[in-house]
């Protein structure tokens, strides 16, 4: 089998691509993949230089909220959490 795969560069390329596509299709089928844009929240993109003090205060209050409730939950940055939520929704729809 190894001799056939490594016979020449073309057979090796085809096998690599087949494995690559196979893994992606299998994963997509199992997880029900859809196009999803990952929203990592970024407060610095909302920054207004004229309201620097207000921004600082809002960051300080957010940092203290995070330290009370644990990181990532409220901000929804964790892809795993988003996926778990969406999978529950999908199975609900199915």
């Amino acid at each position: 089998m190894k001799n056939i795969i490594l016979k020449n560069r073309y057979t090796l390329l085809v096998v690599t691509l087949v494995v690559y596509i196979g893994v992606l299709v299998a994963e997509g089928a199992i997880t029900g993949r859809e196009v999803r844009v990952f929203e990592f929240e970024n407060p610095f993109f909302d920054f207004n230089v004229n309201n620097f003090e207000g921004f600082r205060e809002s960051r300080e209050s957010r940092v203290s909220d995070d330290s009370r409730s644990g990181s990532g939950e409220d901000r929804g940055e964790n892809r795993g959490e988003n996926r778990d939520d969406s999978r529950d929704e999908d199975s609900g729809d199915a």
Binding site: G28, R33, V35, F52, D66, E77
Partner: protein, 284 residues
Amino acid sequence: MDRFKIVQFYALLRREVLEHRNLFIGAPAVVALLILVATFWVAMQIDETQLAEGLSYISVLFDGLSPFDMAPFFMLLAIPFMLTLYISSVIYLINTLFQDRKEMSILFWQSMPVSNLQTVLSKVFTIVIVAPIFYVLNIFAMYLIGMILLTILGVSNDVDLVGIGWMFLAAIASLVLIYFSALVTSLWLLPSIGWLLLFSAFAKKTPLLWAGGVFILVGFFEDFIFGTQYLADWVQSRAANPNQYLIFEFQSLLERIFNYETLFGIVVGSILITGAVYMRRFTD
């Protein structure tokens, strides 16, 4: 890993940097120089009174604030460097396993007791770990020169620059964010790294055309054979949001690495990199 293997791997990394010093050292140096020149030119266009007010405001802005809290403000300046790094990475990855076959120096490299796995891994390591170090060093040099120029401007305009040291510390702290942004992005884009290396090792001519052409074809192939578009959805999900490519807070670093999508991408990237390792045996 024994000491000799470490020395060997270091020699492989050194070889990559020496061969591509234009991409890893020259390119970010040019970007840094352009930013400095542009900033200095803009400063010279501004009215002296406004310049003095602006410098005073900047010096007070960062005064007494934690550098790590203020570091993210410098990420905007990182964007041109990150773009340059991505373009340089594509050029590097698509050429690195192709060029030495084209000029036949592969016969020398493979006459040394270095395995194809070591060779390919050294190239992955160069892009993921080593190249960003040089970019960060160039940004540091830019910040240092910028701070000196700012100080000179401030003194010549009679402005009290008490906070400039804090600003510089925040800039230095941002370098850590920039480095980890590059690292996390490289792990996120490991499938792309693997894809480019695979076609760099495969193609006898025009590796970039091969990489792009086959990429489009496999999408059609999946649709034709399976009637699905998981590949296209996957690629689109990974490429869509520019926010994915920058880290603004240290707290999010581990989440960005240890999540399902990044880890699955590392698995897929590993498949393609393995293909590149085996492909390297074809030296013609």
